[in-house]
Structure formats: structure tokens, C-alpha cells
């Protein structure tokens, strides 16, 4: 799992690359939270364009990032979910709380 981060004008964009499973999740949570804590953004955008796979471990990752942004009074957005990832997220009901944009279908 690789991530690339860009920050400017209160906006933190984190591009995720790879597959989000239990193996990748713990390191990913740490990376995302440390980026958030470093930048203290108003908006955090997770770009999932290059995420080829996500299972329930990814739900916990998004929940953690969502909670951290909420504590900061900010917002979490999730971009470019694949069909597969979106189906997993929909099971959790998370798509009702987290703002998801750029749906592929």
C-alpha cells in the first residue's frame, strides 16, 4: 500500500494506491492519522482511484479517519471509489455519513 500526500489551503489530499485489507490497514491508519495531525486540514480527501480492492478492514480505516477529522471540526471526503469498494462500504452504511464523490457508476 502506497500513499501520496498533497496539502494546501486547508485541503489535504491523500492518494491511496494498492489493496486495503487487514495486512495493509494498520500501517495505513497510522499514516493517514499522522498526515492529518501534521497538517490539521479543514478537509481531508481520500482519493481511492488506484485502490484495486478493499474489504471490511477498510471500513475501520475510513471510520478512524472520519472520527479524527470530526474531532478537528473538519470534513472527510472519499473520491473515486471502485464498484467493489463501494459495495463493501454500502454494507456498513458508511456512505450515509461520509461524503463520497466521483462515483464511477
Amino acid at each position: 500500500m502506497k500513499i501520496a500526500t498533497e496539502f494546501g489551503q486547508g485541503k489535504l489530499v491523500i492518494k491511496l494506491h494498492g489493496e486495503i485489507d487487514h495486512h495493509a490497514a494498520r500501517g495505513l491508519i497510522e499514516n493517514i492519522c499522522s498526515d492529518i495531525d501534521k497538517c490539521l486540514p479543514n478537509v481531508c480527501i481520500l482519493d481511492m482511484k488506484d485502490v484495486g480492492f478493499m474489504d471490511s478492514s477498510g471500513i475501520a480505516v475510513l471510520v478512524k479517519a472520519y472520527k479524527r477529522m470530526k474531532e478537528l471540526g473538519g470534513e472527510l471526503k472519499v473520491l473515486n471509489l471502485s464498484n467493489q469498494s463501494r459495495r463493501v462500504l454500502e454494507m456498513s452504511g458508511l456512505e450515509k455519513i461520509i461524503c463520497m464523490e466521483g462515483k464511477k457508476k
Binding site: 495486512h23 474489504d55 471510520v63 464498484n83 467493489q84 459495495r87 454494507m91
Partner: protein
Amino acid sequence: MNTVNYIKIEFPSKSSNESLARSVAACFAAQLDPTLDELGDIKTAVSEAVTNSIVHAYPDVIGKISLRGRIFDDNTLEIVVQDWGRGIEDVAKAMEPMFTTGGFERSGMGFTIMESFMDKLKVKSSLGKGTTVTMRRRLSYRAGSIK
């Protein structure tokens, strides 16, 4: 229903084997000419079952996990994930949405996902002996495919 093909692999409960297991299952399922969405569903369900064995069955040790697959002549795929770990005390309760013993890193959605992404899910478990998860999914026949 006749078995057309089968596979069996065994691996230790290391988290690096999660992606291996779902890739093997996807390669095997590819013989049924699945759609991308069907393939995504199968990979997800396998990932959930194998992750459960890694996380819950063997929390502090490395144990053995077996992944078996069968293809039946009615275009059905069967996947069986078995471990010889801790076992589940109350299977019905464990299968409820949001039920987890795994703390904040888990969401309690694994069984719910397996159940809705596959057509059939059967969980057999005995405390201290291990857990066997059997899942089946019948794949669509697609125009132009040779079966």
C-alpha cells in the same frame, strides 16, 4: 451436481497471505468466466473468511489455514476456508451485523458481507477446535462463453 474441478491450498496464518488467498480464489473462479463484479464479490468474501482465521482463530500464534475450491457443473463455485484455531462460542451471534470481538480495528461486518456477496454461507465451529466456512455462488452464464 458433479464436481468439474477443484483446488486445495494450505498456508500459515500470516497477514501477507490474505492477498494470496483471494488471488488464488479469483484465478480459480476465472474458469467460470465471471463478470468483474462477480469476481470482486468472490475476492471480497474470501478475503473476509481468511482474515477472520488470521485475526480471530489464531490471535497470538501462527496456525494452519486451508482454502478449498470446487466448481460444479451448474456453474456454481464453492469456497471452503478452514482453520484449527479458537473456534466461535455462539455462531448465530457472531454472524449478526456489527458484532465483533475485535475492537476498533474491526467493524463486525465480515460475515454480513460474505452472506450478501455469496448465495450461500454455512459456518461450522467448535470452541477450541476450529472453524469451517463454506460459501457458494452460482455465476451467470454469459452470451458467447463456452461451457
